[in-house]
């Protein structure tokens, strides 16, 4: 039995009259990465938000399992690690304070974000508003992996990262998959990704 499994079947989602997702399906298990490709506006982010439980699909279903146990929608939302370009942190708080807040919300020791922040080369004392776009993406990575999720959902995971940042992010992704986690990664370009076990191409 896989440690984790994520399947989605016949997912459809529209915004008013605009159909963004039309009956898309896919499945990925522990150690595998499901790649979602498609041009801008093809529904990649919408799909990931549906998988994370942040958006309810109009049709279809999402099944997320950990150790053979299906996760309810609310539980899935709190257990996944989501990296998305529209996730922002608190302007007035520093990197370490933002991570401390997330750690407290997730029931982790307040200092548990320190190690991942150091690994990602994040400036601990700098506030969110003063971070470059690359550093913001690194903080999103820290947020996504802080609680060691089994289900990692990555929307444009290497956007704005420099070579060093991308190397660290790829190492984090490799470790996640090696440790039995699964990932869904969405990107508009054909990024070289490890351990691809399934792929979905979306059209506009």
């Amino acid at each position: 039995m896989p440690v984790a499994r994520l399947a989605f079947e016949g997912l459809s989602r529209r915004f008013d009259r605009l159909v963004v997702l039309d009956r898309v399906s896919g499945e990925v298990e522990s150690g595998g990465l499901f790649a979602v490709r498609g041009p801008n506006g093809s529904g990649k982010s919408t799909l990931l938000r549906c998988l994370a439980g942040l958006l309810a699909p109009d049709r279809g279903r999402v099944v997320a399992e950990e150790d053979g146990r299906a996760l309810a929608n609310d539980e899935r939302r709190r257990r996944v690690g989501l990296l998305a370009p529209d996730i922002a942190f608190y302007d007035e708080l520093s990197v370490s304070e933002n991570l401390e807040l997330v750690a407290r919300l997730r029931g982790l020791p307040p200092a548990s974000g320190r190690a991942v922040a150091e690994r990602l080369g994040l400036p601990a004392a700098r506030p969110w508003r003063a971070l470059s776009s690359g550093m913001r993406q690194r903080l999103r990575w820290a947020f996504a992996v802080l609680h060691r999720p089994r289900l990692l959902l990555l929307d444009e995971p290497f956007q704005n990262l420099d070579d060093d940042g991308e190397r660290i992010a790829r190492a984090l992704l490799d470790e996640h998959l090696e440790n039995g986690g699964l990932a869904v990664a969405a990107s508009p370009v054909s990024l070289p990704l490890p351990r691809i076990s399934g792929e979905l191409r979306l059209d506009r």
């Binding site: 942040l54 998305a84 996730i87 007035e92 807040l101």
Partner: protein, 225 residues
């Protein structure tokens, strides 16, 4: 209620105060509004009423009108800001909805308590009002403030959801806040003038309990993606 839930709520509360301490948006706006309104009212109205009873009638109403307007003007941003700055996603992914509501409610209640601590002595001084029962005045302010905090937090969550929310806010604010204002004014007037406020305070506590239970039941539905 688990310790994890309490820690989540406390984290939301502490985060809001930490951000407020650095940005000083809400406190500065609310306290300035309170001081300005009271000073203008005292200068414009002059000595209000011939007897202490008449003065306490007018001052109680003025104080709660001020608190209601301050809450309505400054506090609906409590969730709107989270949505506009995209930090709401972080809370949705990491915290239980009821813990978010509790943390926000505690923050709004503490802000209102601070506002009451500034506005009440100032109103008493400007209108030259004696306080017949200081203990009951504290109870009236506490119970009224708690109800106002719960109602405002719930309304703020509705307003933050966007389309049509402003109309909904106006429609909900009237039936939610008018009974509270009537009870809070009566309890404050009795505390200032020395009348019996026991029944009114009980009704105020019942209002508080009802609105808080409604808030905890409704918030997860309002907050759900």
């Amino acid at each position: 209620m688990s310790s994890g839930w309490t820690a989540e709520a406390a984290a939301v509360f502490a985060k809001d105060w930490r951000a407020e301490r650095r940005a000083r948006h809400a406190v500065a706006t609310l306290v300035l509004f309170a001081i300005t309104t009271l000073v203008i009212a005292s200068l414009a109205l002059g000595p209000i009423g011939a007897t202490p009873g008449e003065r306490s009638d007018v001052a109680s109403a003025l104080l709660w009108i001020l608190l209601l307007f301050a809450a309505a003007a400054g506090l609906p941003r409590v969730f709107v800001h989270e949505e506009e700055s995209h930090t709401a996603t972080v809370l949705r992914l990491a915290a239980r909805p009821s813990a978010v509501f509790a943390g926000k409610l505690a923050w709004v209640a503490s802000l209102l308590a601070l506002l009451e601590a500034v506005a009440t002595p100032l109103a008493l001084a400007l209108f030259d009002l004696p306080v017949a029962s200081p203990g009951r005045l504290v109870l009236a302010l506490g119970a009224g403030g708690a109800g106002l905090a719960a109602a405002t937090t719930l309304l703020a969550a509705i307003v933050a959801q966007g389309r049509g929310a402003t109309t909904l806010f106006a429609a909900l604010a009237f039936p939610l806040l008018v009974p509270l204002a009537v009870l809070a004014v009566a309890a404050t007037r009795a505390a200032l003038g020395g009348g019996d406020a026991g029944g009114v305070l009980v009704q105020l506590f019942l209002y508080d309990s009802t609105i808080m239970v409604a808030g905890f039941l409704l918030f997860p539905v309002i907050w759900a993606p």
